[in-house]
Amino acid sequence: MSTLQEKNKEVVRRYWFELWNEKKGEVLDEIALDPVTFHFPGGQAHQPPTLHKWFETALIAFPDVHFQLHEELAEGDKVVSRWSYVATNTGEFLGRPATQLKVTDQGIDIFRLEDGKIVEMWVAQDSLGLLQQLGVLPE
């Protein structure tokens, strides 16, 4: 694998570990363009306009969110991550009060990078399962 793909993988690892797990919001401007172009599934519960807003909202709703990176691959200008998270809903989410429930979700993201920054993301995760766990929809 070429150095470019290794470097791109490092940027995406910073996204998962430094931004989301260590909650270092300041790395966002180092690792991503603002705004990133998102491709969300139509049924995704939460569709934030920017990564900054996404991070801000998540820290209110799920401040202890912790991601695990299960698999990754890089080719050309893309990096793919297969991930899961656990989090506790201790703040408002989608206009609903905190439930104090512990939830888990998993998904796959494709990142496109330009000049060492994330510029585009394709996202797929289990919104139905998340809403069931939060009690918004019954199991």
């Binding site: 491709h39 998993q106 998904g107 929809l137």
Partner: protein
Amino acid sequence: MATAQENEKKILSFFRDIWSEANLDVVDQLLDPDFNFILSFAHIKDRESFKKLVQFNHQAFEKLTYHVDDEEGDVVADETKGAGFWRMTSKHVGMWRNIPGSNKEVEITGLSYFKFSPEGLITEVRVHNDVMGLMQQIGGIELVYAS
């Protein structure tokens, strides 16, 4: 071991020949006998069970088609693994997850993650599809969850 380009072709064939055309001969050519197909709500554990799933979905969804709109951009692979971003279109005509056929035209997107054996066969596909979006389109949220 297969090249990245060969694996990208197999991913495209998985969507187009197996899922869209329901060509089950291609299942035997592309998939390992112990193939695993893993969804957030189901785990199909071998090639023969997977064929039944393809057939079942074609009964529930007429004109079931998996589109890979950008061959270059929407499929990523290396020598042992890969991923594909897809868009599914169809008409929901039969029972699916306890929702009777709604005759609604549906469209959702998803991402699938592929693993390949040293011989180049697909051993595992993990799928994250927009079940929530599909349920909304076929009236499943109201029917199953709000009743």
